[in-house]
Subunit: 353 residues, 2 copies
């Protein structure tokens, strides 16, 4: 770091995104993207007419996009806020509702960005270890005394809480914000968007990067009581009012118009996940019960890191975390049946050697 | 604000973007956009092939885009960083190089976002009043004892410093970062990008929102010594690693490939500016010597706010600031000759009444 960097940041450890190697073509099962392209309606919506208007600023209120999603989710426009990916929404959550006197509470094994945001903004944390079976110790999240962040389903485990379990957390933290990060909710977990009317302390975060095939376009959103949305809007207007570009605005609306396409893709991912789980079980793997578009798997005898490296050598990328408790696991994105067939065949060859 | 918002933010005053009314079609001369569409090459670059890949994350390092602009600006890739608009780059500058023990120094009349960032991050400031003729009191920016932010040309005045004047500021602040915000540099001011090799404390910020006709697409960049770039990258990777989407990446490269188109448009804007200045001088206006794609003008007898409201009533939007010292001025974006002709005719009609 330079001598000019403020000493406030001297211990900062940035987020490490999944690797995006350019040395060769990989079967990429490491960053939980959708293997399916955006809907035809999205492709048509990003057309020459829209592109020709890029000289003009986008609508900072995202009026049309917000209205469309209010209809789709049966909430009011005042209950929605969009961000440049759900990472930006999470950033708003940390910066708005945590601080020196309000800690952030999250699991030790969860989305890696939570601890990065806490570090970046010097927010004190209460990091709660998952149980030995990687389930969330729910009681530790009740009366937690700070802003609660729960990824549901959790990453990289894929395990989900039920709606009733989340209600228990909401009920016991009425004086604190509870952020439910539903990045992976479309693959089998229960959403709690319909609870925002009941719980004024609930923020539900969703993304277009997973089920909505738009990771490379950047769009995320959250649902919450109007007052929480207005707080976050104040932060947005103090950071980057034009954060959503015109093309993402058009693409988002078109995605809403073709919701069935994405729902159908999610169904395919769930089917492929079941197939992969069966195949890997047959090879002796232990796999957590995933409700996400990835599985978290370990082999009882074959080392996880070695498996990751061997797969990479053979052109298949999965995600390995060099972290205590989970270093023998790999997180494998659910791709197409063809991609998963190559994966399974490659694993078979590796184990056989 | 909700009862959940951290008290840290209780006095926050967000940035107010220029109005984007939807009640009727205006001649929009209020937000300093380019009146020209993006280049044909940009329109072609955002094609079905690129859109179909939006299910995959973008390259967080922006490798191809950075390489292309390193070539165009004759610097090394390590000297460039892109952001989601130059606002995001400015955010990195404030958060990286200012802090409790390092104040931010900028003019009282300049880009409104500087004071918003300072407020948002609780950064102490030294806000230096412009001279009576709205020029920058250069000596006050020497040995300034903090991180210096200068918009060159300045907004909303349009007045520019010479390169030699900026060198004086750089020479006298060698232990502090000097940020030169060149959002409007393409309309007649001197850029200092070529000084980044000499001054390790210099950051030059540019945007695609003005001369590059991409305000609605969000792309900004900065040039600086490698160490400063790496500091800002650490902040970027702690906030939103995938901040630049795939389409903006492709559009940016195509814009570099058609640099002559944008240079030619800037030339047209400069010509139109000269024409408008002549026309308004003939109507008695006082106009500062603008090197930007807007002018800052006041009439000796006709009230500035009334002029703004009268123009709005008749379908022409300009920007008025309800702020001491400049409340009699209006900032008028230089549009096409047709747009400016309507503006002049409308002003004539208003004054006549």
């Amino acid at each position: 770091m330079s001598r000019f960097l403020n000493s406030f940041h001297k211990n900062l450890l940035p987020y490490t995104p999944g690797e995006q190697p350019v040395d060769m073509q990989y079967i990429k099962l490491n960053t939980n993207e959708s293997p399916f392209p955006p809907s035809e309606k999205v492709i048509k919506a990003i057309n020459e007419t829209e592109i020709s208007k890029l000289n003009l600023y986008s609508d900072p209120e995202c009026t049309a996009l917000v209205k469309r999603f209010a209809g789709l989710y049966n909430v009011k426009p005042e209950n929605i806020l969009f961000g440049n990916g759900s990472d930006e929404i999470l950033q708003y959550c940390f910066y708005s509702f945590c601080g020196e006197d309000k800690k952030a509470i999250f699991a030790d094994i969860t989305y890696g960005f939570y601890s990065v945001f806490a570090d970046l903004f010097h927010i004190p944390t209460d990091i709660i270890p998952l149980n030995d079976d990687f389930t969330l110790p729910l009681d530790r999240f009740k009366n937690a005394g700070g802003t609660v962040f729960i990824a549901n389903p959790n990453a990289p485990t894929g395990l989900a809480l039920t709606k009733n379990e989340i209600i228990e957390v909401l009920e016991s933290n009425k004086d604190d914000v509870v952020v439910i990060d539903e990045a992976y909710v479309d693959f089998g977990a229960e959403s709690v968007v319909d609870l925002i009317g009941t719980y004024k302390n609930l923020i539900v975060v969703q993304t277009f990067s997973k089920a909505r095939s738009y990771a490379g376009g950047r769009l995320g959103m959250c649902f919450a009581d109007k007052e929480l949305i207005n707080d976050m809007k104040m932060i947005k207007y103090s950071l980057n009012p034009y954060n959503i570009d015109r093309l993402s605005m058009a693409a988002g609306i078109a995605a809403a118009d073709d919701d069935a396409y994405y729902k159908n893709n999610a169904k395919t991912i769930i089917e492929n996940r079941a197939w992969l789980v069966d195949e890997l079980h047959a090879l002796g793997f232990e796999i957590l019960d995933s409700k996400a578009n990835f599985i978290f798997a370990q082999h009882p005898t074959y080392d996880g890191k070695r498996m990751y490296l061997q797969l990479k050598d053979r052109g298949v990328l999965v995600r390995h975390f060099d972290k205590e408790r989970i270093s023998n696991f790999n997180r494998i994105t659910i791709g197409t049946k063809d991609q998963l067939t190559v994966l399974v065949d490659t694993i078979k060859a590796i184990i056989k050697e």
